[in-house]
Symmetry: C2
């Protein structure tokens, strides 16, 4: 069997981060390949009329407690980022650029971005901090920032985001197993069921 | 031990309905008492700035598939109600009135309302349908509608809804175990953990 789960993500989403911590085990348990699909969550929100849970104060206050509960259950670190929301457009463009050129460090890069935002609570809105995080991860920061500025890369992130919306995506993370869509890091059990059905 | 879980609900919420189907097993497994807390979800939305998931078309389309998946997992019936959203103010007032007078048929009434909306997909926006459903359930429809019109009952639903909002509620169902809040029928596993901790 040739099973695949698509994982639509944006580094700015704590739920997408939580999901990312569970993907290696999911892949190991199901034998499925995980296809990482970068998208710009802000673009998805604009296109669908959806908004961050944080846009409703009571929901925003609750949702981080909910994420903390899952982090505890998963046994993974999670910090509230005081600079949330993070404008991730450059970070997501770099992800797209690395994927386009089939760079072997794509997974390392994604881990580093999630860690910077949701474990180390760095201010990734600040270009100097982004450059420092990239350098600390052994990446060539100027080269990656130049990659993010390439028209092909910019267009590809736009196209991927539009494709996500066309498929029904309205939040992050979103998974597809074939045409079955699952929204939320709290639906990984259903994703697992779909992959083992 | 004297354990209690508070269950804030509105009959108009399919998620609250799904949760209601799991409460007997939760109570049996944990030995906890379930306190049913009526609220007017529309009032909660106005007070908190939250909105039904159906207000975002892509989310509304998805969320009923999500509910259907849980209904299948739980082994309980669920129909999409073509008259959604249902204005539940009278139905919730009756629930409050029955609770205020400690009527032994409170639970039967709640089951009948959930069934009418989410199993039989009845148009509970229509007063004649409401009366017919009440009569079919062995309730005295005119008496219950009169109960719903009592100022004490109206004020109590308002007070319960305001209390819910003051405690941080922004959607349905919401559970409290002590001061720990849990939102969503998909958080019953966390509620169970909190009750058995």
């Amino acid at each position: 069997m040739n099973k695949t789960v698509e994982y639509y993500f944006d580094f700015g989403s704590p739920a997408a981060y939580l999901a990312s911590t569970q993907l290696p085990a999911l892949a190991a348990q199901t034998g499925a390949a995980v296809l990482w699909r970068p998208m710009l969550l802000g673009g998805v929100f604009v296109a669908t009329g959806n908004a961050s849970p944080a846009s409703v104060p009571a929901k925003g206050k609750y949702i981080f407690r909910d994420f903390a509960r899952f982090a505890k259950r998963y046994g993974v670190p999670l910090k509230t980022n005081p600079f949330f929301p993070i404008n991730t457009i450059t970070l997501m463009r770099i992800a797209v650029g690395l994927q386009l050129r089939q760079d072997a460090r794509f997974a390392d890069y994604c881990s580093a971005m999630y860690r910077a935002i949701w474990v180390d609570a760095q201010n990734m809105n600040d270009p100097a901090t982004v450059a420092a995080v990239l350098q600390a991860g052994g990446f060539d920061a100027p080269a990656l920032l130049a990659l993010a500025a390439e028209p092909e890369v910019k267009n590809q992130l736009k196209a991927l985001t539009e494709e996500a919306v066309a498929r029904g995506v309205f939040g992050a993370p979103t998974f597809f197993v074939g045409e079955q869509m699952f929204w939320g890091q709290d639906r990984l059990d259903f994703v697992r069921e779909a992959l083992t059905a």
